[in-house]
Symmetry: C2
Subunit: 492 residues, 2 copies
């Protein structure tokens, strides 16, 4: 063995907190932050010692991850995926047996989708995604909105997160650039802006108006940022809202589009929850539809995903964005950027195809697919309403009725004694509240401070995804924790 130039004890690290990329160091991402990490520890503890805690299981409501909580995948999607994996099933001698296990339309769909890639699902695809699937996405958008969509404007991606990061990356040319983001917001936006060293320019969602946007507040926010010399270039909108569960009215979207066009802002429309809609009054309307209807020239990126909706294929990592009114040369730059990452994973692309082009009436799988979608949708709606109602019955808590997405974002009025205690511990009061909830009930939610909120108010985000048969127990857990805490600190 050769002698080292520097002995182990002397060797200080090259890569440390002090030397690393400072933009990554300052980045925060609460959805998978301290509370979920503690939740993982508790899960491991319960696995080793089932009776060692006040509760029997951890209930992860910190993230919209429905199959983690026993939501069943869509049968047709998984049948087609299985056949794409093991193509011997589609050929003699296995095909005869395969026909006993799989419906004919799943077999036909697998064959068709394999033909898109010359039967090589294990090869890199085009970097923007398989052309036929981009075509199908465009048709889906046309049918949804009633306005044309161009497959050349569609790019398949590794979930919506990677797509949002890529577009923000294109937009941010210097640390002086700012992007308007909602408060509260999904922390992908603040995390990515911190990472890319750009300004997050916050605007507030109006809690008292079901989280609709206020144009005067947008104007105020933009004017303040521009007065500080920030080059504000784009505005992110999450609709249906994450973490709020609100769904924007068409009239509100019209106002936002006109505001962005006037103010020369690119619109980033995060529309991954577009099918998670629970009211008649606030149907989903896409930004693309409004832009088309207005004949607006505003530049728009719209994001969609297979992780949400009733598809809920989070682990597969699939999605797309549509680029509308984007400069032709920028489209070329986006292609180049996509090409360095080679391509989005093929099974994610195939699932996008099924999401946008599901079985049709007359197909063997149509009834089952429809029923599975409806069952999931109706169940989500019931659970959302039930949880909101439960929150609204609690003291020191109020919650807007959910309109969409997978979340509720109740407001909690924390007793001053609790707030003081948190501050003494150097913690955000809502973070302490959520950590105590986890430690005493096993329920893992995300504090409002992880999303941003009006100063002095406290919230948390909870999914309503625990399985329906366990839902009452889940609500009881919330309730007893909350009442005991309010009680204890109100007396204090």
């Amino acid at each position: 063995m050769q002698k080292n130039a520097v002995s182990s004890s002397e060797h200080s690290k090259v890569l440390t907190l002090d030397t690393m990329n400072p933009n990554i160091r300052t980045m925060e991402y609460a959805v998978r932050g301290a509370i979920p990490i503690r939740a993982e520890e508790l899960t491991a503890q319960l696995k080793a010692q089932p009776d060692s805690l006040l509760f029997k299981k951890v209930t992860p409501c910190n993230i919209g991850n429905p199959q983690q909580l026993q939501q069943k995948p869509l049968t047709f999607l998984r049948q087609v995926s299985a056949l794409i994996e093991y193509t011997d099933l589609l050929e003699p001698p296995l095909i005869e047996t395969t026909q006993k296990l799989f419906p004919e339309d799943a077999i036909a769909r697998a064959k068709r989708n394999l033909s898109f890639v010359n039967n090589a699902a294990g090869a890199y695809t085009q970097s923007l995604g398989i052309p036929e699937i981009r075509q199908n996405v465009a048709q889906f958008i046309e049918q949804r909105d009633g306005y044309p969509a161009d497959p050349n404007n569609i790019c398949l991606t590794t979930g919506a997160s990677g797509a949002v990061e890529r577009v923000l990356d294109m937009l941010i040319s210097s640390p002086n650039v700012g992007i308007m983001i909602p408060i509260p917001q999904y922390p992908l936006y603040t995390a990515t802006l911190a990472h890319l060293n750009a300004h997050a320019v916050p605007y507030y969602l109006q809690e008292e108006k079901d989280w609709q946007l206020s144009i005067p507040d947008l104007q105020r926010s933009l004017a303040e940022a521009r007065a500080r010399g920030i080059d504000v270039r784009a505005m992110a909108v999450i609709n249906p809202g994450n973490p709020t569960g609100g769904c924007l009215l068409e009239s509100n979207i019209v106002d936002i589009v006109q505001f962005c066009e006037q103010e020369r802002l690119v619109i980033l429309a995060d529309e991954v929850y577009q099918t998670n809609i629970y009211t008649e009054t606030n149907p989903f309307v896409s930004f693309k539809k409004v832009v088309s209807k207005l004949g607006s020239q505003v530049e728009l990126f719209s994001f969609h995903s297979i992780s949400k909706g009733m598809v809920g294929e989070c682990g597969r990592r699939g999605g797309y964005y549509e680029a509308v009114n984007i400069d032709e040369q920028i489209m070329g730059q986006l292609l180049k950027l996509a090409s360095v990452g080679l391509c989005p994973n093929v099974q994610g692309q195939m699932a996008v195809d099924i999401m946008v082009n599901p079985p049709q009436p007359g197909d063997a799988s149509y009834e089952l697919y429809r029923r599975e979608m409806d069952d999931i949708h109706q169940s989500m709606k019931r659970r959302a309403k039930k949880l909101a109602a439960a929150f609204n019955l609690l003291p020191n808590m109020s919650c807007n009725d959910t309109q969409g997405a997978m979340y509720l974002f109740p407001r909690v009025v924390l007793p001053q004694a609790f707030v003081d205690e948190a501050k003494a511990l150097g913690q955000e009061p809502d973070a302490l509240y959520c950590m105590q909830m986890l430690e005493s009930t096993g329920i893992s939610v995300v504090p409002g401070s992880g999303f941003g909120q009006v100063p002095g108010t406290f919230h948390f985000r909870s999914t309503f995804l625990p399985p329906e048969e366990l839902f009452d127990e889940f609500i009881a857990g919330f309730k007893s924790f909350h009442i005991a805490l309010i009680d204890r600190y109100s007396k204090a």
Copy 2:
């Protein structure tokens, strides 16, 4: 319809080449650059008009994408993947029929791997990847190297590209940071460094010494960069080499590790071709093994992938990195960075598991798996040797025998008249050579200028992946193109 604030004709774009992130604009990525884009156009043209060109099909040798060129996927990997997709196959009433289609070890493996995720392959996993699979990766590394590996140091990723980007991103804290990269190199490195606005500090691989590294050249390169004030922090090594096909000797790796330790450089070891080895003289030796053997404290990231080797699952996007001797707080920052992207796709993770933990002697699938692996390996070796021999028989061309990877990187001595013509056209001579090759033969390769080369020399990178039964025809295409070109321009 409401009136727009700005009419269409007046609306200039917000996001343009002038306003976009300039680091993305300057980035280049030749592997999917002008030549492969033209190759896609020609493919589309042949689909529409099969007889409209001088050749009947496009042969994509620009990228290591074996299944695109008819390499069959590993049966066991695809069987397990199919069962993970459609879990009804594993339960009554379907399981009885499933047993007729799938071997028992594939069924057992699917069940076992599903148990890692509580049967929810559609859920997000832990951001670093499924813990049991990280454990299996650690065992694989221990068996490969004979030194311990810690599962806490393993992070599953979306292919190796995303992993390399993530680690470079951590390392680059300012535009003054430099990373040593080989020349020629896989352009992921120059592209990512341009994107992250850091210095690429080039060192040369020695073509005349089978592409081994020269320590004096490393010292020269580092000294020059440091003299210019560049904060050189890390050194990337690609072994086996891309685009060169060289494989480093253990003695060379020992020297490199000691150089990096002395000079306080983090090592980035891109080892994705570690099983693509074609000679007895240059077996693959991992950097991790050498670091362990030396008892070195040098910081090391080692990258591996399911896209290469005999697995060749490019479209699936799976891989991992091992972090060795990395500061504990940096490990936390890497976890946070991973968490913003939620998790690598589950089917990619499952394929990593099969790659590192294949069927064992006595398992039902062992013989088939072994045979498929061997057949692919032997065929790659035959094709590599055949292509190198063919290149070496051509005038004005010389090529090192391949030792590993999926590529040859022959040197072409281009006639001065051709070089002059290219310069008059404002093109790199080897880029013009490759474009003419594509237009006249349908063979798509990447010019040496896309990887970097000693000034005044010209090369191209070609895979040797066309199917064996078409290989003579493929070589004949190269040959007639090259001889005609040399002939024409030597006379000129």
